[in-house]
């Protein structure tokens, strides 16, 4: 998708006026977060699990090179071809070349934020390959020509009427508003594609170093179809997804679905370890894994920002974020939105291109409260803000305000004088302030002097 992070302010302002989108997003995210709260309430030792998950990630990322080496060797032993890609362009080239060498004309895809990140579809389509997103939400936004507005529910911003109009326009079906009917339209349409496609592409939620297994969580079954029927399966896996093994996976499986949708488990958790084996009736003949760096090693070298790599992409931080709830995902201007988007986008694209994003936080800490791996999101956002100020300085108005604030604070006299001025100023500027915002009739000093405390 096109990167529009520079226009964050304009996009956020526009989003604030889009009541339909706002209502759809805030209703859905509130429901997700209520479900999460309930699921965590029923999970014994939830807090200890979060701590354990954090520790596993700290250790795995600290020794990432060794784990990647182990994972690669394990996967190769299973007959999987492992590719390392330094950036998105290289990953796209690897996959595109593979498809072309095999004469593949059609690709089916399971939902994957990593492939959104590297804009894989556009690359494959430019090479003349037909690409079908098969997750219902992804399918909807593909037809609409949009990017995801939420990490786990990419079409959250669309109403059923909008989907009905879209399907009827693009797929030539009657206008059905019923979500069940619409889902069946997509099911029928995509079912054939799984059997026609020569290549299935998936992401992965985890990669297990000890066994070479990749793990994919989903509810619809489209990822299972995409990784079972096409003759070639390619999994695009960010290098930060590697964890030691099954035991550690157990910790994350208890946390991930609960954090994302409030489910105890996703409907399908696929542990895939290689192509079809002798004696098995189905499964791909060939399996490839593309281990994608695309800036992750750089983030890892940055001691302050390293915890950004612990993210599981569950979306829980979006669902509780007062900023996300009002502006939705598209305003952020790229694939990752909400607090985690504000954190990782400037690191992936460069602070220059996304310098407004770290400001899109009230620092209320709700995100840190729900993060299943305890990423200190607000602290990391503050670090980014500090760096932006160090690089670019403060805007003129903010600098002047801070200087004046400093002067006001030097003595009680100047503070009182400033308050007096503010009171006069309020008379003239009352129309500029939002309704209900005004200075109190008496300030604290006066109340104190009057003995009313």
């Amino acid at each position: 998708m096109n990167i529009r992070t520079e226009q964050f302010k304009k996009q956020a302002a526009r989003a604030l006026k889009d009541k339909t989108m706002q209502e759809a997003i805030s209703r859905a995210s509130r429901r997700f977060s209520q479900n999460r709260t309930q699921a965590f309430g029923e999970l014994s030792e939830a807090e200890a699990l979060r701590t354990r998950a954090h520790e596993i990630k700290v250790e795995a990322i600290a020794h990432l090179d060794a784990y990647l080496e182990e994972f690669t060797a394990s996967a190769q032993k299973l007959g999987i071809t492992v590719h390392r890609s330094a950036d998105g362009a290289e990953a796209c080239r690897t996959i595109g070349d593979l498809a072309q060498a095999k004469g593949i004309e059609m690709v089916v895809k399971g939902k994957s934020m990593t492939t959104e990140e590297i804009d894989l579809n556009r690359h494959l389509e430019a090479a003349g390959i037909q690409v079908w997103e098969t997750d219902l939400g992804e399918f909807i936004i593909q037809l609409a020509g949009e990017g995801p507005s939420h990490i786990i529910a990419p079409a959250l911003h669309k109403t059923q009427q909008q989907v009905a109009a879209l399907f009827s326009e693009k797929l030539g079906v009657p206008y059905y508003e019923d979500p069940e009917k619409l889902t069946m339209v997509a099911r029928e349409f995509l079912r054939d594609k799984y059997f026609q496609a020569g290549l299935g592409i998936s992401g992965a939620n985890f990669a297990l170093a000890r066994t070479g297994t990749i793990v994919i969580l989903e509810n619809e079954g489209n990822a299972r179809f995409s990784t079972t029927f096409p003759k070639v399966h390619v999994a695009v896996v960010g290098i930060e997804k590697v964890i030691p093994g099954l035991k550690e996976l157990g910790v994350f499986l208890k946390l991930l679905a609960r954090s994302a949708t409030g489910q105890k488990s996703s409907t399908y958790v696929s542990l895939i370890q290689g192509p079809r084996r002798p004696g098995e009736l189905d499964g791909p003949e060939e399996m490839h894994i593309v281990l994608l760096d695309n800036g992750r090693s750089r983030i890892r070298q940055d001691d302050e920002m390293r915890p950004s790599l612990y993210c599981l992409r569950c979306g829980a931080c979006l669902n509780v974020c007062p900023v996300y709830q009002r502006i939705g995902g598209h305003a952020y201007g790229w694939v990752y939105s909400g607090p985690i988007g504000s954190l990782v986008t400037p690191q992936f694209l460069g602070i220059q291109r996304a310098k407004y994003l770290p400001m899109a936080s009230t620092l209320c800490r709700a995100c840190a409260e729900v993060c299943p791996v305890r990423i200190p999101l607000p602290d990391l956002l503050l670090t980014l803000r500090r760096r932006i100020v160090e690089q670019h300085g403060l805007p003129w108005l903010e600098r002047k305000m801070m200087e004046s604030w400093g002067v006001c604070q030097t003595s009680p006299g100047s503070y009182q004088a400033a308050l007096g001025l503010a009171r006069i100023g309020e008379e003239f500027t009352s129309g500029l302030l939002p309704a209900g915002v005004h200075l109190p009739e008496k300030n604290f000093h006066r109340i104190w002097e009057d003995g009313q405390v």
């Binding site: 939400g137 889902t183 066994t211 696929s270 370890q273 079809r276």
Partner: protein, 196 residues
């Protein structure tokens, strides 16, 4: 929780996931349940897996066997030979383990012969031997302290918790997004003679 409570817990969790559950006390009861579940499907639209202990049940249901899968040189467009799966409305599989506290069925492709029969048919009927019910994911993972033993389970080990579902349109829950619309679990409360 007592081991005898695991079955109750499993049934409770499966019901919460909109799955049907049945208990079969003997092979005759199993056949009766299957017959009633398959009532609306013609015999040619029903297929079962080929695992040894399922064989012994003598269910009189054809084995899932797609037309010969050829390891072709190069890859012709289209995997047409798999389309036959479209004609199967009911897929009957065994279950390797069930995890009671999440209502999860574990199916290993190496044990079950593949990945597709629990996925493509509209109705998935899973036959679960009583002794294969575990309480939790942790208990399951503890069975595989060594990676090798887990790898030997096959190219795909799938955890299934309920029928395929989506809520991508305004959070309306719809079953049968891509995979089965219905999941029925029959718990076999009699010895089925699983080797190992």
């Amino acid at each position: 929780m007592d081991k005898s409570d695991w079955l109750d817990r499993l049934e409770l969790e499966l019901k919460a996931l909109q799955a049907q559950t049945f208990r079969a006390g003997d092979p005759a009861a199993l056949k009766e349940i299957l017959l009633s579940l398959c009532r609306d499907s013609p015999p040619e639209a029903i297929a079962r897996e080929d695992r040894p202990w399922l064989e012994k049940l003598e269910l009189d249901i054809p084995v899932y066997k797609p037309p010969a899968y050829r390891a072709t040189d190069g890859l012709p467009p289209g995997n047409g030979q798999w389309k036959f799966l479209q004609g199967i409305a009911v897929g009957i599989t065994g279950v390797d383990y069930a995890l009671a506290d999440t209502g999860t069925l574990v199916l290993a492709s190496g044990q079950s012969g593949g990945r597709g029969l629990s996925l493509a048919p509209r109705h998935h009927i899973a036959l679960l031997p009583l002794e294969r019910i575990l309480l939790s994911l942790d208990q399951f993972l503890d069975l595989y302290p060594q990676g090798e033993s887990f790898l030997s389970q096959g190219s795909a080990v799938t955890f299934i918790s309920g029928a395929s579902r989506t809520a991508d349109i305004e959070l309306n829950l719809v079953l049968g997004a891509h995979g089965p619309k219905e999941l029925s679990v029959i718990i076999l409360c009699f010895p089925v003679g699983i080797a190992g």
